[in-house]
Symmetry: C2
Subunit: 135 residues, 2 copies
DNA sequence: TCCTTTACTTGAATCATTCAGGTTTAGCGC
DNA sequence: GCGCTAAACCTGAATGATTCAAGTAAAGGA
């Protein structure tokens, strides 16, 4: 299924900007809003930053992109959705790397005591230093 | 050991503001900077907001307070440090609740493939709806 | 008690993100 | 294909947590 169908199926209108956002996010690696903006303009010409914010918000709401917000840095977006993967963030350079979960299945998805909460998402971030920053 | 010793031992100077911050954070429950500021002023009178920022930064760097930043909301601080506990955040009201980890020991602290990262912290946030917001 | 370093103060700046209002356009019904 | 309406997009300004800057005060070792 193409991006246009995915977008339409989510009840959103298909526009050149949104298709370009999907392509950019999919091709990139944990891009921030400016990265996405740049990628979109490379593909379809002038698009306002606000349109990128708005579209990312809509696409995120539809579950087509995932948003992560490592502490202290701007929001980043990725196209890998639905699976239960987590992130390694380098304290030195800020690089974000995907990592599958330790436990085979959603690991911490079931904390022993949920205190009555209805939990629908687990957001796991590992902090450390990446190989190239260890020197 | 009292807060003054903890602070001194971390190589920081002991001031009324910092003692008040420790007390406030310990007495409170995932307070944001304004909450801390208010609590500090209640204890020792006028203290600037920037002093609170600065001291929280220093105390956090020393490992005396923990900082959490749920996506989309201002930073919050808590006094429970060193143990491996995580957080439940309510999507509706933003309440933060402590939760011990599913696995007995640091759970996701060892993702199968660390991609060469030296991991020193795992930050786990569960998103859901709290009991009182479920109505 | 003195001195140096650290903490604190006031005031302004930064920057990601959001809000506001007006204009364009996707995509449905005719 | 034509027109309509809501959604998407635009420009421009505001917000708000956080940080920076430069000067003043005070902690704590000599």
């Amino acid at each position: 299924m193409g991006d246009d169908d995915l977008i339409r199926q989510a009840g959103l209108r298909v526009t050149a900007a949104r298709l370009a956002i999907m392509q950019t996010v999919r091709a990139g690696d944990h891009l921030d809003v400016d990265d996405v903006h740049r990628g979109v303009r490379d593909r379809v010409g002038q698009v306002s930053l606000q349109a990128v914010y708005d579209s990312l918000h809509a696409l995120h709401g539809a579950g087509l992109v995932r948003k992560i917000e490592p502490m202290g840095s701007p929001a980043r977006y990725e196209a890998r959705v639905g699976d239960n993967h987590h992130h390694l963030v380098c304290r030195a350079c800020g690089t974000v790397t995907d990592v599958d979960c330790a436990v085979g299945r959603p690991p911490c998805l079931d904390p022993v005591d949920t205190a009555g909460f209805v939990v629908d998402e687990a957001d796991v971030t590992f902090w450390g230093v990446c190989p190239s920053c260890q020197e």
